[in-house]
């Protein structure tokens, strides 16, 4: 933060007419500057503003209300509260992303509690906490509920360490709660009683998402809650809610913008089905629909009237067949985001291409990921069909068992606006199934044709050539995920040297060794983090890295699954907080 000399030194200010204006304090009081800067809302803009001058730095820090911390160990709570005294909303991300796939042992860290203790003292008016991949205990949830009387909004995504008892504490004590969003957590699901803990005079809820919890909730409690919370706009129920119960909820809250339907299965009488259809007709504001985990062709048509304004359809737990999807999509012309299981097959994806010209995001998940003899699922043909019909496609996550270089080249010619391209050919090291060549040219085509590419995940049989292409062309790339790919250190080196905006690099099961690791020394300080596991790194390489770059945290774990006992998992990240003090014994900080 270099201050403008005119602002710091009054004598210099008199030297030129322009600087005279800048240096007069009364022309531009701090309060006005703070007011103006308070209108900035993106983190990037605020960071830029804070670098302009000392005055702007202070105005920005006093006016900032929301903070986003992408790696909870990059900064400490003490440093945070010192810089930003008026925070109302905190977003924190904890464990490395590969912890989603069981690559990080339990009790690794990222515990929210120490943060809450500091917040209780410095941010007593805290309103919002959004956590991803953090460890949260019931004790922490109770502390949160009791110590922050203005607390409004809690979102827990992929967290672990708590049970439904913690949710009871939140429901009981947070009088001003507007949002309770519980998604995909490693939660100890004891019972659904937490829902009964909302007091009878509690009416402020706007967002309730308990779709991923398994235990049954008391429906009467839920119905009464939905009835009295007339600001409720997002409701995602779990699979224990039956269809006719869903119908009764829809009657109470027809103005929902987002709905998670639960399992969508039950045996309905014709009268009940008619009521369900009528209720869905009344939902004119629905933009997002999810759940449907056991929906069948029998009852899906009840949904059709509610789909006219749908922009996001999440069918990732619904094993629909291609015809069922096709019939549903005929009603979803405004769809921008679609998540499906590969049970819809290529034929279902053809229907996507035909019915959804505005589609920007497609995610296709594998319905049978553990069986290699499967002859169904999606292939390159489905992806091609979507690319011909949906030219605005910019985000794709595609799990498949076969792909060709030619298909990918055509796809990115059709859709050059890709910002996120994540292709997972599920059999690692699998070549182009027609030509038997490596998939290098596919990803070469992606990086050459898509200049806006920010995120890339590669798969299939890949040599160093893929990484040469990435280093040469992917100039906006920020996140790269690599598994079972590459031929030598050169691959990783190309990426580290060639991608100026790289922030996150995660690598597993690749032949990259110390030479590759050490080729990125200065680079790592401009990145959020690097993860490498089951590669050819040795302890000496990690030690050398730690020695040369003292401002980086270099954490090493022994790889339990490796055959020779020599393999390590290394997590490298920049931090202003120094080495972490809560590392468990199996994490070695170098």
């Amino acid at each position: 933060m270099r201050a403008l000399p005119e602002l710091m030194d009054p004598k210099r200010a008199r030297e030129s007419p322009e600087s005279a204006v800048l240096s007069r304090p009364s022309a531009f009081p701090d309060e006005v500057l703070e007011r103006i800067l308070s209108l900035l809302d993106t983190h990037k803009d605020r960071s830029s503003a804070s670098l302009v001058s000392k005055a702007w730095y202070h105005a920005e820090r006093w006016s900032r209300a929301r903070v986003f911390i992408g790696n909870c160990y990059s900064v400490s709570a003490e440093i945070l509260v010192r810089r930003f005294p008026n925070i109302r909303s905190v977003t924190l991300k904890g464990k490395p992303r590969f912890s989603d796939f069981n690559l990080v042992p339990q009790n690794w860290g990222a515990d929210i509690h120490s943060w809450l203790l500091v917040f209780a003292e410095h941010y007593p008016s805290l309103e919002e906490l959004r956590l991803k991949r953090m460890t949260v205990t019931d004790q922490s949830l109770e502390f949160l509920a009791l110590k922050f009387p203005n607390f409004k909004s809690l979102s827990l995504l992929s967290c672990d360490g708590f049970s439904t008892d913690g949710l009871s504490a939140i429901a009981t004590h947070c009088r001003n709660l507007t949002e309770l969003d519980i998604q995909e957590n490693g939660i100890d699901d004891i019972s659904g009683n937490w829902l009964n803990c909302f007091p009878d005079n509690f009416t402020s809820l706007e967002v309730l998402n308990f779709a991923s919890l398994n235990s049954e909730v008391n429906f009467d409690s839920l119905e009464r809650l939905v009835t009295r919370c007339n600001l409720l706009r997002i409701l995602k129920v779990n699979k224990t809610i039956t269809l006719d119960q869903l119908q009764r909820l829809l009657v109470r809250a027809p103005w929902l913008t987002e709905l998670g339907t639960g399992s969508f299965i039950q045996e309905l009488t014709p009268r009940q089905y008619a009521d369900l259809e009528t209720s869905f007709k009344g939902c004119r504001n629905l933009q997002t629909l999810s759940g449907l985990s056991e929906a069948t062709a029998l009852y899906l048509p009840a949904l059709y009237p509610a789909c006219a304004n749908l922009t996001f359809l999440n069918l990732s737990y619904a094993a629909l067949q291609s015809e069922e999807l096709a019939r549903l999509l005929a009603y979803c012309a405004h769809l921008r985001r679609l998540w499906v299981l590969d049970t819809v097959e290529d034929k279902g994806l053809e229907a996507v291409g035909q019915n959804c010209p505005l589609l920007e995001e497609l995610r296709v998940f594998p319905s049978d990921p553990f069986d290699e003899e499967i002859v169904h699922g999606v292939t390159e043909l489905g992806f091609l069909a979507v690319s011909y019909g949906c030219r605005k496609l910019r985000y794709v996550l595609y799990f498949c068992r076969q792909m060709t270089n030619a298909a990918v080249a055509t796809i990115v010619r059709n859709c050059p606006d890709f910002t996120h391209f994540r292709l997972c050919i599920m059999n690692p090291g699998q070549p182009d199934y027609l030509t038997r060549e490596p998939m290098d040219e596919a990803f070469g085509a992606v990086v050459k044709n898509c200049p806006k590419l920010q995120r890339l995940a590669v798969s299939g049989l890949l040599t160093d050539l893929t990484f040469e292409y990435i280093g040469t062309f992917a100039k906006n790339l920020e996140t790269l995920s690599v598994a079972f790919a590459g031929s030598s250190d050169l691959g990783m080196q190309c990426v580290l040297e060639g991608c100026p905006k790289l922030r996150k690099l995660e690598i597993r099961d690749c032949p990259f060794g110390n030479k590759a690791l050490l080729s990125g020394l200065e680079k790592y300080e401009s990145m959020r983090s690097l993860w490498m596991s089951a590669c050819k790194i040795t302890m000496n390489g990690c030690r050398l890295l730690a020695r040369k770059m003292p401002r980086l945290n270099v954490e090493v774990m022994k790889d339990e699954e490796s055959n020779d006992g020599q393999s390590y998992k290394v997590y490298v990240y920049r931090s202003v907080a120094g080495p972490r003090r809560d590392a468990p014994p199996f994490v070695l900080t170098l």
């Binding site: 796939f101 069981n102 398994n214 049978d368 290699e372 068992r401 699998q430």
Partner: protein
């Protein structure tokens, strides 16, 4: 759809001659309601149990492992997706909730075993019950036959005629809502998704 192209063993290839959607069962003469299923209703779980039986047969006679190995350019031999017939916990890269939803078991029962759906079965008048894996059966006839063997009692196949009801037993089940219903009225898949436990009662009580 193309087959998985990376299996090196020809004997594994031979399984793909079997169409996964055919509801083939040992008792093809059954008149169970599974016949009324169009291919729309054939469950993934049925296909999975068929495939599982076949892979067991293959493993018995052959010395090859059931998980194909891939040789990557750096000569790392990688065994994917199955390690000793257990799922790999770290591949493919899907999140834990989806992973457990797809492998057919609830998030609480996380073991290394293959997917199963065990329900309790009681016979009227017998205090000690048995347990039965519904996923090992592909229809009502199959189920009735297993139970008849297990309890040594004549159990009416749910779609059979009800003419001789004196000494026979019928099969009932408790559904998710806690109600006791007669087995056989709904398609097999819907039954599997709502059944919590089974009870064998005397026919003349129904």
């Amino acid at each position: 759809m193309g087959r998985s192209s990376s299996s090196p063993s020809s004997s594994i290839d031979s399984t793909s001659n079997l169409t996964p959607l055919s509801p083939s069962s040992p008792n093809s003469s059954s008149s169970s309601s599974s016949i009324c299923l169009s291919s729309n209703f054939t469950s993934r779980t049925t296909r999975r149990s068929i495939r599982r039986d076949l892979s067991t047969d293959l493993r018995l006679g052959l010395s090859i492992s059931s998980s194909p190995k891939h040789v990557l350019p750096n000569n790392n031999v990688v065994s994917i997706q199955r390690v000793d017939n257990q799922q790999r916990p770290d591949w493919p890269p899907i999140k834990p909730l989806l992973r457990s939803a797809l492998s057919g078991r609830s998030a609480e029962e996380r073991h290394g075993a293959a997917s199963s759906l065990f329900v309790k079965v009681y016979m009227e008048g017998v205090p000690i019950g048995r347990k039965l894996d519904l996923l090992n059966h592909d229809g009502y006839a199959n189920l009735a036959e297993t139970l008849a063997h297990m309890f040594k009692a004549p159990i009416l196949c749910p779609n059979g005629s009800r003419a001789h009801s004196d000494k026979h037993y019928v099969l009932t089940y408790e559904d998710r809502e806690g109600d006791w219903m007669m087995v056989g009225d709904v398609p097999w898949e819907i039954f599997m998704s709502t059944v919590k436990r089974l009870k064998i009662t005397r026919a003349d009580r129904c």
